[in-house]
Symmetry: C2
Subunit: 227 residues, 2 copies
């Protein structure tokens, strides 16, 4: 097989996925559900942040979560136990990302009736998940302090497709050579409207600000007559 | 396009890659070059570790490095400047991994004549690089303390295909809920012959042990008459 053939298949996969993502968005509009696609490297603290956000918001919003994982059910069990909200596990069967079809299947299995907000925890990976539109209303990236402020230079697509950016584990800033200013500059150069939230789920710094930001977005989405 | 078709293409891509990986291995044997494929999450400290290892080993071994990156040249420039050894940058053009063909092209561009050891820094990603045999003599994984000791449960293939495991950033162990014992148990369950090296490029703890382990492996490979 020559290289060209692989590329053609990839283009076709992307086009197919884009159509499916539009279907997901139409489904969400009908249901008035805000789907937030959460992406990051492995170990940046996606699950801990979701637990903190869900517990902060579950009185104001009816929340569900979909946990994508290659194989394990560690995260789904943890979230269910620590928050009490409806959670399902999506196994990608080895795949490095979620596509729109898997996402729609997940939403239907989760059951979205009566929900306001669904968190989708994507596979921990800064490359492939950025290439596949899941159909989510918005994508959020978590960059943890130990990873370094140069990640936007090395994984640019990820930092272009998200709009809300969380810097996690800010409690360990003193132990790492990470500049919040440099990280924001690197992201803003790719994405001029990026919004930033430095947080720590250990000290709970910034969790409230991020939760209120999301609450506002969900309310605006649901109130929008065009949706 | 149905799902099945994508899967068929993937299987064909893998079969093609496996043949190319065998060619890379044959090439390396002829040249008596030990190629070490270094894989990890983004931000686990691959580049810092390579700089430390190269500077420790460059009197004993003639070393080269190939830096894979989606887009930037940050790492290749850093390694060249800090070690003085021959380095090339491999741009994957957006791809999430290196395949054997890119690797062979890289080796030919680097020029392996007279080299004993070549480090291949793969794309920062715990999923896709594990699926593609680069043809390297050995694969090494770096798991950084901030990522958490549960990563082997969530990205099992990565922890099956490597044989040397580095726990990086051990200087920050006091600030994270990471148990070296639990991490080793999780890896050993997937990979009974795994070898472990806790390191820090800040304090230089463990760097010498790892360097000597690699030196021994390179010497054994070069001395093996069957190679």
């Amino acid at each position: 097989m020559d290289k060209l053939k692989v590329i053609e298949v990839k283009a076709s996969v992307f086009a197919h996925n884009d159509r499916q993502a539009d279907e997901v968005r139409a489904f969400l509009k009908r249901k008035r559900v805000y789907l937030l696609n959460v992406m990051s490297s492995p170990g940046s603290g996606k699950t801990s942040l979701l637990v903190a956000l869900i517990n902060r918001l579950k009185k104001e919003l009816r929340i569900g979560a979909m946990e994508a994982d290659i194989d394990s059910t560690v995260d789904a069990l943890g979230i269910a136990e620590k928050t009490g909200v409806k959670v399902i596990q999506l196994h990608t069967g080895g795949a490095c990302h979620l596509d729109a079809e898997m996402c729609l299947e997940g939403l239907k299995n989760l059951g979205t009736d009566g929900l306001d907000l669904v968190f989708l925890e994507n596979v921990g990976n800064l490359v492939c998940p950025a290439e596949f539109d899941t159909g989510a209303v918005e994508s959020l990236n978590i960059l943890s302090i130990p990873e370094g402020d140069d990640k936007p230079l090395k994984y640019p697509l990820m930092f272009k497709v998200c709009s809300t950016f969380v810097f996690s584990k800010v409690d360990v800033l003193p132990y790492f050579d990470f500049s919040l200013e440099r990280a924001m500059d690197n992201i803003l150069r790719l994405n001029a409207t990026a919004e930033f939230f430095p947080t720590s789920t250990k000290t709970m710094e910034g969790v409230d600000e991020l939760a209120l930001h999301l609450l506002k977005k969900v309310r605006a989405y649901q109130a929008d007559k065009e949706n």
